[in-house]
Amino acid sequence: MDTDYIIRMANQIADALGVNPDQDQAVAELADHLTRFWEPRMRSALFASAADPGLHSRFSPLVSHALDRMSAPV
């Protein structure tokens, strides 16, 4: 999966859910959204991108926190 495509979409979801004043809940909702709506190879691509130090700065902090709560698809 194209890295730009994956990161852009994840950040977009974070922008929409990040308005929640309860940031812990926002992170949980983001993780839930990615799990419920993203096919495993998309999530794998997201995890792979997040593991790339060169791409780290492109991630919304909310996405990074959400990934911490998720497990990579097997």
Binding site: M9, A16, G18, R36, E39, R41
Partner: protein
């Protein structure tokens, strides 16, 4: 012999709790107060002769044929305009009345051509009938006096119907139908006395006039004055089959009148639940595509997309497709293939395709065209109200006091509902239009919007938040309703959020371009006028924040107490006829039928037990994700039923690149569409006239589709899917679509009560239909929300990343037109091209002048995604800075320009916002030149398969 006619009660039914009993020819009959004597008589099976009266129109009282005698009254009142009164004693048959009626008929007939034997409506003519009913035996005046026999020539300008003024009796039914039923006011009676004539516009032809060719006038005409050209050409039908239109989400019921296997005409069903006897130019007339010469009726295969098509048997085609899918899965993995269901196919057919993907393919890679239109509706309404569907029936609008139309163009996209809405506005309801363009509803005869919030594309969320801000800060919240029916903490968080200054109308003014005072006034009107209803369309959903706007709309409705009763609600106007149904049937990659997530073990177990397979608990790929996966080499095969993704999906060149990477594309369609040009297997599809099944319209109404003629290719679409499933090693045994519906009902709680016998007896039914609602559910969320408590959602405005710049200074937004439908595969193959033969670019005069563009000039439209060339139409319908086009013709390349930006929650493409530049140009774009070369190449590859052998 003509078909039996439905009973015509002469005047419309009235609703009243007060009942009135009258005596008609000695028979007592009890009817609601306000009923006409004519209708009361018909209730007692007494048909009073009539010509100007029909029960779809208000009484007019001009023909004087329906005279009756009423005890205690002088003279002979017209029974159509005389209302029943308690104790009234009416006589409909007396020697005097017979004499009067004969005299009236004598006058009519003295000025009517007596060519009945060669008249196209011979045997189906009310004038002819009435002459017989009143016993007319002679015309004392002769036929040599002044008359209209050699009346000015016929108007044949409309491709679908003929106007023969010689046969007109000036009953006004056509004029009234145009006004009351359609609401266009295109017809009038010109001249006075003997010179009176039906006239479109100011003595224009029908095609030159404002006529929208809905056919209401033809339907209302009691003679052969306005007659379908198909009837003139073919003759009258032998049988009639009630079925459901395959165009927009209104889902009109029609009587397909047929001779042999040839459709003679489509007549809107008077008892149609969605349309109540009305129609539009598409459903009424544009059905000829079903037998168009371009239909491909033989399966075909080819080893590569540059190889000639080879005609094969059904068995060979499905065996080849199945073999390829198996090969791909063996080589690339189980998830390397998927399918797309069609909103133009029946519920049963979409159910089968998703079942095939989940069983025979063993994954959840199934999606549907709702992905690119109303997927945000499914998401947004599920989050807030608890169900992925609109809340009302169409008739609900007749009880609305204020209607807000957001990002929808009902008079073009959903014309029959548009007419109903206009009727309610003429009756006095207020209208708010939220749209970047001046759509017809903003100002049309006898209809004017109280507020037109002409916002910039892409700013819906800011607008919805500003409306909410006004409601919250000006004390207009329905506090009791919210307290009783909604989640308290979520509401309080939302109240605090929308009350922030950044969500005020004043802040929104800078974003949307709409004056704050106008936004405030519209919000006050919506919140305080009484029953407030919101109708919305793709102008809401097809944005990067489509889901946010849907949730914002639901927030507005809940905050004002406008959900859960007739006249209110949140109403998505669905694009295609079965978008609702295809979503209901589990076409999304994360949901099984009935909107239940694939990760839900209980639901999965239910389907696993019924289908005898193990279902993947992970969501599958959505259509845009399929393209990405194809480009990265992990998605290689697809089964596409009845969708043209290459034309309809955004960023065409990106889609084409993805399609080129596939190793097996199976397209099942009526025509060799754009997607089929990238296919390896073509399975001939069947039109809605060739199969049985059901469609579910935008109001959740499930209606029967009935086979009118045999499938031209030998198989209905559902049968083709069965064949493919069997070849894949997963045989499904259904002998009729009713058995598929029985399975759907068994496995889907909201459909538990649905079966073909019920549909047969009731005509149609709105889901949920189950033990709790055995007669269906016209209005949802009555007394409480499906999810329990309504949930307010926070809706931050996040501007789209598709920004205007000096290089791309204009915003392109796309849409639809009345006479064409979606990618145009059907309507382009009908005479509807008489109204719209090409897609054009609408541009404001100021923007045109800046660029030296004149009306009709060829202009290049360039975006970050691509470039195309169209002719310009200069119009103030669009605002400065905004241009607009449609996507009905593939060569237009409208989607070459649109980008792959999409809704954050659902990936619904952002068709409505593309930054572009427009310049004068002289030749087609590079893509268009490539398109033409490819079209010729593919047509050449098709020839060996479609040319008959000598």
């Amino acid at each position: 012999m003509s078909l039996p006619r439905e009973t015509d009660y002469g005047t419309p039914a009235r609703q009243s709790e007060t009942l009135v009993t009258v005596s008609i020819d000695g028979m007592e009959v009890t009817v609601p107060a306000g009923t006409s004597v004519m209708r009361a008589a018909q209730d007692a099976d007494t048909a009073i002769p009539k010509l100007c009266a029909t029960d779809s129109l208000e009484p007019f009282g001009s023909c004087r044929l329906c005279l009756v005698e009423i005890e205690g009254r002088k003279g002979y009142p017209a029974s159509c305009t005389t209302l029943v009164e308690p104790g009234m004693v009416v006589r409909t048959q007396t020697p005097k009345l017979a004499e009067l009626r004969r005299n009236v008929m004598e006058l009519y007939i003295s000025d009517h051509p007596l060519d009945c034997l060669t008249c196209p409506t011979n045997g189906n003519c009310e004038l002819q009938d009435m002459a017989g009913v009143v016993g007319l035996r002679e015309v004392r005046y002769g036929f040599k006096g002044e008359n209209h026999f050699c009346e000015s020539k016929k108007d044949e300008s409309n491709p679908y119907f003929s106007y023969d003024p010689a046969k007109c009796i000036v009953c006004n039914r056509c004029v009234r139908a145009c006004e009351e039923t359609q609401g266009t006011f295109a017809l009038t009676i010109s001249g006075r006395g003997f010179e009176s004539r039906v006239s479109p516009g100011q003595n224009e032809s029908f095609m030159e006039s404002e006529c929208v060719s809905c056919g209401a006038c033809v339907n209302a005409c009691p003679t052969a004055t306005l007659t379908e050209k198909s009837v003139i050409k073919i003759g009258q039908a032998e049988r009639s089959v009630t079925t459901t239109c395959a165009y927009c989400g209104v889902g009109c019921s029609f009587k397909a009148e047929v001779k042999g296997n040839q459709v003679v005409r489509m007549v809107p069903a008077k008892d149609g639940g969605a349309n109540q006897g009305h129609a539009c130019v598409k459903g009424r007339f544009a059905w000829g595509y079903a037998t168009h010469a371009d239909r491909i009726t033989t399966p075909m295969i080819r080893p590569s997309i540059d190889a000639p098509w080879q005609k094969v048997s059904w068995d060979e085609a499905v065996a080849y497709a199945a073999g390829e899918f198996k090969r791909i899965q063996a080589k690339y993995g189980r998830s390397a293939v998927g399918g797309i269901t069609s909103s133009r196919c029946t519920n049963e057919e979409t159910y089968l395709v998703q079942k095939l993907v989940r069983t025979a393919f063993g994954n959840n890679n199934v999606d549907t065209c709702a992905r690119v239109c109303h997927s945000p509706t499914g998401y947004g309404l599920k989050q807030t109200l608890g169900e992925s569907a609109g809340t009302q029936d169409f008739a609900s609008v007749l009880q609305s006091d204020v209607v807000m139309v957001i990002g929808a163009n009902p008079t073009d996209g959903h014309p029959v509902f548009g007419s109903l809405l206009k009727r309610r506005i003429r009756e006095g309801a207020k209208l708010i239009v939220v749209d970047p363009r001046s759509i017809d509803l903003v100002r049309t005869p006898h209809v004017a919007a109280s507020h037109h919030l002409k916002l910039m594309p892409g700013t819906n969320v800011a607008m919805v938040n500003a409306l909410a801000h006004t409601i919250v800060t000006e004390g207009l919240v329905a506090e009791t309703y919210v307290a009783e029916r909604c989640e308290g903490p979520a509401f309080e968080a939302w109240r605090e959020f929308v009350a922030r200054p950044e969500n005020s109308p004043e802040a929104a003014e800078a974003i949307t371009g709409v004056p704050a005072s106008e936004i405030r006034a519209a919000a006050r009107l919506y919140a305080t006028a009484g029953n407030g209803a919101i109708y919305y369309g793709l102008g809401v959903t097809e944005h990067s924040q489509g889901s946010t706007t849907v949730m914002g709309i639901a927030n507005l409705a809940m905050a004002t107490g406008n959900v859960g009763r007739p006249g209110v609600g949140v109403n998505p106007l669905r694009g295609q006829n079965n978008v609702q149904g295809s979503c209901d049937m589990g076409s999304f990659p994360h949901e099984l039928p009935g909107y239940r997530h694939v990760s839900d073990a209980t639901t999965r177990a239910l389907f696993e037990s019924a289908w005898n397979v193990s279902i993947d608990p992970e969501p599958g790929l959505r259509i845009p994700n399929m393209f990405e996966a194809a480009l990265d080499g992990s998605f290689k095969g697809i089964y596409i039923q009845g969708e043209d993704i290459v034309q309809s999906d955004p960023n065409t060149q990106h889609v084409e690149s993805a399609m080129a990477q596939m190793e097996c594309v199976v397209v099942q369609d009526l025509f060799l569409n754009e997607t089929a040009k990238w296919a390896h297997v073509f399975l001939p599809g069947s039109s809605f006239l060739e199969k049985d099944g059901t469609f579910t319209n935008a109001e959740r109404r499930i209606s029967r589709v009935r086979k009118v003629m045999p499938p031209l290719a030998g198989k209905a679409d559902w049968e083709a899917t069965l064949a493919l499933a069997a070849a894949l090693g997963y045989p499904m045994t259904y002998s009729h679509p009713s058995e598929i519906m029985d399975e759907i009902a068994r496995l889907t709680p909201s459909f538990h009560g649905v079966n073909y016998a019920l549909l047969e007896s009731r005509g149609s039914i709105q889901w949920p239909c189950n033990e709790a609602a055995p007669e269906g559910t016209p209005t949802m969320h009555v007394g409480g929300f499906i999810r329990g408590k309504g949930r307010f959602m926070l809706t931050p405005y996040v501007p789209t990343t598709e920004k205007v710049t000096r290089r791309f200074p204009l915003i392109l937004t796309t849409g639809r037109i009345l006479s064409q439908y979606n990618v145009g595969a059907q309507t382009r193959r009908t005479d509807n091209t008489a109204w719209h033969a090409e897609d054009r670019l609408e541009i404001h005069p100021v923007d045109a002048e800046d660029r030296g563009i004149k009306d009709g000039d060829w202009v290049g439209i360039a975006s970050r995604a691509g470039e195309t060339v169209l002719r310009a139409t200069i119009t103030e319908r669009v605002q400065p800075g905004v241009v607009y086009t449609t996507f009905h013709f593939p060569e237009s390349g409208a989607n070459v320009i649109t980008t792959d930006n999409s809704d954050w929650a659902t990936n619904c493409p952002e068709y409505k916002v593309t930054a572009v530049q427009v310049t004068l140009c002289t030749q087609p774009s590079e893509w268009q030149q490539r398109f033409e070369r490819r079209r010729q190449q593919q047509q050449g590859l098709l020839q060996p398969a479609v040319t008959p052998a000598n």
